[in-house]
């Protein structure tokens, strides 16, 4: 499903060059639930962003669902992100100007889907995360846990094969964190969605099929 070969990522700013990832080799199979762990600044987000096609590797080969992404243009990258991937972020990243329902519809706006059908799919996704009663609220009117559930609904509304979650429970208390973890697990078990999750929490990492450990940009396990 996801293959990384000899991946390096270098960030260049005016003063410094940061080698954020060094010689990463990774194979994640269809339907796996993988966690990524490691100390702050070791390159976890960088790795997830590369897999999510939000950034490009400095060196190495990246294959997603059998497709080389090296050299792909804006339009084909956008199409792949839209169809194959769903993101969940630590700080939710809901659009404050949009209602819950409109936020969840975002991925569908970039497909050829009629407005009525969009709404139906978005409501179904919100139902799955248990938020059917809040669809016309604005993000600021919801608790952190609720916002993250909206974000998950948005990530799964387009039925992507891969869901990428960057510390999805990092901003939540442990009860809410458990809830979110439960939803991701169900998604993996029932739908067979491949889930890659960055976490600091050993408890959650143990519930995943496999843990990748990074240290200083290198894969240590």
């Amino acid at each position: 499903m996801i293959t990384l070969n000899n991946i390096d990522k270098v960030y260049r700013t005016e003063r410094v060059e940061t080698l954020a990832l060094q010689n990463i080799n990774l194979d994640i199979a269809d339907g796996e639930f993988v966690s990524i762990m490691g100390p702050s600044g070791c390159g976890k987000s960088t790795l997830l962003n590369l897999i999510g096609l939000l950034d490009k590797p400095t060196k190495g080969k990246l294959l997603l669902d059998g497709t080389h992404i090296n050299g792909a243009g804006d339009r084909s990258l956008a199409k792949m992100r839209n169809e194959k991937l769903g993101f969940v972020f630590q700080s939710f990243h809901l659009v404050p100007d949009l209602t819950v329902l409109d936020n969840v519809e975002i991925p569908l706006l970039y497909r050829k889907i009629a407005a009525g059908e969009r709404k139906k799919l978005a409501l179904a996704a919100l139902d799955r995360v248990g938020l059917s009663s809040r669809v016309h609220h604005f993000p600021t009117q919801l608790s952190g846990g609720q916002q993250q559930r909206v974000a998950i609904a948005r990530a799964i509304v387009g039925k992507p094969r891969i869901v990428l979650a960057d510390e999805p429970t990092g901003n939540l208390d442990s009860a809410m964190g458990d809830e979110i973890m439960g939803i991701l697990q169900e998604l993996n078990e029932k739908d067979g969605t491949t889930v890659v999750m960055v976490t600091h929490d050993d408890r959650f990492a143990q519930q995943t099929g496999r843990t990748i450990r990074l240290f200083d940009g290198r894969q240590v396990a």
Binding site: N49, L54, A78, G86, F87, D97, L98, E105, Y110, G158
Partner: protein, 412 residues
């Protein structure tokens, strides 16, 4: 442009009240100026009483005479028009009329200055004045050289007071004229129609018959615009063959049979032979409008750019979920166009107020500017253009944001 984009645009504008207000002030001011200019041009160049046939009218307003050692441009003389526009094949009618002349009316002890045109009887059939009373003077009046006049209701009120005036006389420059008809006053923007008193051309002397230059304008009414090219061609042939007894060798005469717009362009560009005068003037107008728009557009660009950072996370999210650059550009340009259209709608209201003020003050005497659906349409087109013009660069810049940096709310 889809519904989701429109909904979002309105919501964003409603939530960013300060930005919306500041932007709207600049946009509205800009569009008011452009719409007032559009309304004035519309009142001059679009058909409207008494120039209801303006779309079928052609004018001769300039004659140029050129030889090796001299050049001279002036208004056409009677003789020149006789040889060039009388009985043009395919034309419906033709007429000559003088430029505006100041004439003095003596009424008792009063001395009233007034604007006068001398016109051929056929003039009244090409233009559709609204006769409140009486009728135009006729070919018979003209042939018999009778002193008859048509006046506006405004002049009648000033000289004779309200009430029937036909048959009464006025003392115009020391000669008595019988009033044949009274018409509603005419806006000054109706160039071929505007005057306060109209009288026949009168006796045509031998000198007038010979005059190449003088104080006349020629007016030709075509059956349709489609006949313009043929009429112009025939006119140009006649001008090319035009000679007078006192022509020196090598003397060349140039002139043009022009639409109202081309007729304005010709003297401004100081080139009687330039047949593309209309196009050049149109280009000048559009360029002026663009230059005028540039500063407020840059202002809006700056405001929009400063707003990018605020919206960076949204852009990051949209990109992460598959928005291609193009779609994002379309979204932000749509938002900007909606803002400028709001400015356009406000601008239109202020334009109506500004024109009413112009009409009621004596800043432009005899102005009767009005707006209509066409001016509104042009106004909205200008607003849309302004929106695209000022929205594209910020939108492009936004759409180029790196999604990772954008999600962190990072720099450009």
């Amino acid at each position: 442009m889809n519904i989701a984009n429109l909904k979002l645009a309105f919501r964003v504008l409603a939530r960013r009240k300060v930005f919306t207000a500041i932007s709207l002030v600049g946009i509205t001011l800009t569009l008011v100026v452009l719409m007032v200019a559009t309304a004035i041009l519309d009142n001059i160049f679009a058909a409207g009483k008494p120039e209801s046939n303006l779309d079928r009218m052609l004018f001769v307003t300039v004659v140029g005479r050129y030889s090796k050692d001299m050049s001279q441009t002036s208004q056409p003389g009677y003789g020149f028009l006789q040889k060039t526009i009388r009985d043009l094949p395919g034309a419906e009618r033709y007429a000559y009329f003088t430029q505006l002349q100041t004439a003095v009316i003596y009424s008792g002890a009063q001395r009233i200055e007034t604007q006068m045109k001398r016109v051929m009887p056929s003039y009244w059939q090409i233009l559709d004045f609204h006769f409140i009373e009486g009728a135009p003077f006729t070919a018979a009046d003209d042939a018999a050289d009778r002193p008859v006049a048509v006046i506006t209701d405004a002049l009648r009120d000033k000289v004779l007071g309200p009430g029937p005036a036909v048959g009464r006389t006025i003392n115009l420059g020391g000669q008595k004229y019988r009033i044949a008809g009274v018409v509603s006053r005419v806006p000054i923007t109706r160039m071929s129609a505007y005057a306060e008193v109209w009288v026949p051309i009168g006796a045509v002397t031998a000198e007038l018959q010979r005059a190449t230059i003088g104080e006349y304008n020629g007016l030709v009414l075509a059956h349709s615009r489609d006949d313009f090219p043929a009429l112009k061609r025939e006119f140009n042939t006649r001008v090319a063959n035009y000679t007078t007894a006192d022509d020196r060798p090598g003397m060349e005469t140039r002139s043009g049979l022009d639409t109202a717009f081309e007729a304005l362009a010709r003297p401004m560009l100081n080139n009687p032979a330039n047949t593309d005068a209309g196009l050049v003037l149109r280009t000048i107008f559009v360029t002026l409008a663009l230059i005028f728009m540039t500063l407020p557009a840059l202002n809006l660009v700056t405001l929009n750019l400063s707003r990018i950072l605020e919206r960076a996370p949204e852009i990051g999210v949209r990109k992460a979920f598959g928005a291609p650059k193009r779609t994002l550009i379309a979204q932000f340009v749509t938002e900007n166009v909606i803002l400028t259209l709001l400015g356009g709608a406000l601008g239109f209201i202020f334009t109506i107020i500004a024109l009413a003020a112009l009409n009621h003050t004596s800043f432009i005497p005899e102005a009767q500017f009005n707006v209509n659906a066409r001016v509104f349409g042009y106004g909205m087109l200008i607003a849309i253009f302004f929106g695209v013009f000022s929205g594209f660069y910020p939108a492009w810049k936004m759409a180029r944001l790196n999604p990772v940096n954008a999600l962190r709310g990072g720099a450009l």
